[in-house]
Amino acid sequence: MSFAPEKLWWLLAQGSMILGFVAFSAMFLVWWERKVSALFQNRLGPMTVGWQGTLQTAADSLKLLLKENIIPSGADKLIWWLAPFFVVVPSVMVFLTIPFGEKLIVHDLNVGILFVTSVTSVCVLGIFMAGWGSNNKYSLLGGMRSAAQIISYEVPLLLSVVLVIMETGTLSMQGIVHAQESGWFILKPNLAIAFLVYLISATAEVNRVPFDIPEAESELGAGYHTEYTGMKFAMFFIGEYTNLVIVSAVAATLFLGGWQGPILPSLVWFLLKVYGIIFLLMWVRWTLPRVRMDQMMSFAWKVLTPMALLNLLISGWLMVNS
């Protein structure tokens, strides 16, 4: 990629658009999550700030910005300070290769999906750094749990992604979307199983119920981000919701035909699918209890991974023989 100075403005514009989208979607999702949970729990949710409480997250962000940044006295300062960036920066970077629409993609890398999966796995480093650097027992437990969990669920997640790559023969995100012009991948039985495996693993990847073990509130307070205040805490929050958007966006791209759809513009279709998946994950979150650490690990290694492997094997055999 040649670097031309006149392109700098264009790059900056793209960068700010992504950052704007990330910030806006995180704020929207926090509000939406509260509204959805209220819907499930016979409540109203936030109602005071703005119409239907729409400005609630804006007010919360302002409060978090103005809060004092408390550094725990025993903290490993550098690691503690860097951790939130390790969580947020990779999540923002992933959006470079997410196809929002037919023409709406920053850069269609030819190793797109590989880039997405490898960059997102950097987040676990940030979480573990936060847990270690805080010098807090609850944080350490949360960080260790998180590292174990995310690394375990990366395996079935990638195995289900590999099936899509086998089907399409390309790693480019746009290429995968174009391969689904004849029909969404979720309609094929083997890919439907892969979608299921992907969705379950993705739930674990973003630490949501029933796999919200790292920040199990009733056990560990807030887990790895217990000691963070103000904007640092907000960064973890943004990272969490951005990851939610990413896994949903990847699921929509890989299995639900990406931005494809009749009549409506491609961007609208893409966002509809992404927020549809997010709604599904929210539904799960506000319904189910949490599984235990060992149950979660054995589920990953004894159920999901063999299932994904078997699926891969059978599909591969069929592909070769047909």
């Binding site: 949970s37 499930f40 729990q41 016979n42 409540r43 027992k137 609850y138 437990l141 119920v209 029933p210 919200d212 073990i213 199990a216 509130e217 009733s218 056990e219 307070g221 979150r285 506000w286 319904t287 189910l288 209890p289 949490r290 599984v291 235990r292 650490m293 060992d294 149950q295």
Partner: protein
């Protein structure tokens, strides 16, 4: 003067370092090693008194090996109010509001236990309607208390707030009726020695019948949402097993005891008031695990609904608000009366010297014994399971510390 001399004898070093103020044998670093061999460094986690799942100001000192609980020491006393001593300086009537604050989720039942004890001491008879009104309110309160136990237990298992809101929503209907009855939503102060504070409102009959119908529907929903949910079963089945003999040794009572398979309910074993007139079952568990404790409470709610339905059907005419005295002079003597509270057996031991105030009022609170057995159950469990077990014991700090 004696006090100052004592102060003089004290070593100032003790005050500075804190040594000598407690028995060093109790210090966590001196606990015996239960397992020999290679092991990682132990972690001492202070869970509480401010922690989302310790239900009030309970402080659990947990020794962890990785995430496995080696030992647990509950520390209590953060909510101590000297209730029993206060009782010695109050007339019998004046102490009723204090009983509200014992198990503040089952205030009606506390009122009932105390009032019955005083009536036994005074040898006071009350009319039929009082009995029925008391039964209805006490059982409604039991339903409300169990609903909170179910909701918060699910919350401890990580079902984010949804079951809790459902349960609180149901409880709200009971609380609204109590609000109408006595103006209180949590501390009712409803029972009186020789009667109750106010008559049931005119719409109460229809209101309660509607509630019973509604709640039965909701219980089915809870079974679908939680009781037979795969994750819920995996988290609670065979977790935190309390053996019946251990439960009896620790004088555990209430749903916790019954979940262990011991069929013991004072409403059946030594029926007080008019409980012998109603048909109801005593749900018991098979394994004494956390799931059984949950299920027993869930079943007890439907049993209580049965009792309320029968009591409403047999509600005699009359006046529940009989004329009561301002003060009572009890004859010298002592009395112990125990009732089946939502949490277990609540006992009042009253000693009278013939005055207007009791000479001694000892309260036997169920949560105290139910908490005491906790270390026995959670030793060797995962920390997540420890939280699950703590949630399933359903303790209220208000009656532990009194």
């Amino acid at each position: 003067m004696d006090r100052y001399e004592l102060m003089g004898e004290m070593d100032t070093k003790d005050i500075k370092t804190g040594e000598g103020w407690f028995d060093p044998a109790h210090h966590p670093s001196n606990h015996p090693e239960p397992v020999e061999g290679l092991r990682s460094e132990e972690l001492i986690v202070n869970m509480g008194p401010q922690h989302p799942s310790t239900h009030g100001v309970l402080y659990l000192e947990l020794r962890l090996d990785g995430e496995v609980v080696i030992d647990c020491r509950p520390h209590i006393g953060y909510l101590h109010r000297s209730c029993e001593k206060i009782a010695e300086n109050r007339t019998y009537t004046q102490f009723i509001p204090f009983t509200d604050r014992l198990d503040y989720l089952g205030a009606m039942n506390n009122n009932l236990g105390y009032v019955l004890a005083v009536e036994k001491l005074l040898n006071l008879q009350v009319n039929e309607r009082v009995h029925y009104v008391r039964t209805i309110t006490a059982e409604l309160n039991r339903v409300a208390s169990h609903l909170i136990a179910l909701g918060t237990f699910a919350q401890d298992l990580g079902a984010y707030a949804t079951p809790m809101f459902y349960c609180f929503n149901d409880r709200e209907k009971i609380v609204e009726l109590f609000d109408e009855l006595c103006g209180g939503r949590l501390t009712y102060n409803y029972m009186r020695i020789g009667g109750v504070q106010t008559e049931l409102p005119a719409y109460a009959d229809k209101y309660i019948k509607d509630f019973i119908k509604y709640e039965r529907q909701k219980l089915k929903e809870y079974n679908e949402l939680l009781t037979y949910n795969a994750i819920f079963l995996a988290r609670t089945k065979k977790v935190g097993i309390l053996k019946p003999e251990v439960a009896i040794n620790y004088s555990v009572t209430g749903p916790m005891l019954r979940a262990s398979g011991v069929k013991w309910d004072l409403r059946k074993e030594e029926p007080y008031m008019i409980y012998d007139r109603f048909k109801f079952d005593i749900p018991v568990g098979a394994n004494g695990d956390s799931w059984d404790r949950f299920k027993v409470r869930l079943d007890e709610v439907s049993e209580s609904l049965k009792i309320i339905e029968q009591a409403l059907g047999g509600l005699p005419a009359g006046n529940a608000v009989s004329k009561v005295n301002k003060v009572y002079k009890a004859p010298p003597g002592e009395v112990y009366l125990r009732t089946e509270n939502p949490k277990g057996e609540l006992g009042f031991y009253l000693v009278s010297d013939g005055g207007l105030k009791p000479y001694r009022n000892k309260i036997r609170s169920p949560s105290f014994s139910n908490l005491a057995v906790l270390p026995e159950i959670i030793r060797g469990l995962n920390i997540s399971d420890a939280v699950c077990v703590l949630g399933s014991t359903d303790i209220v700090m208000g009656e532990i510390d009194r």
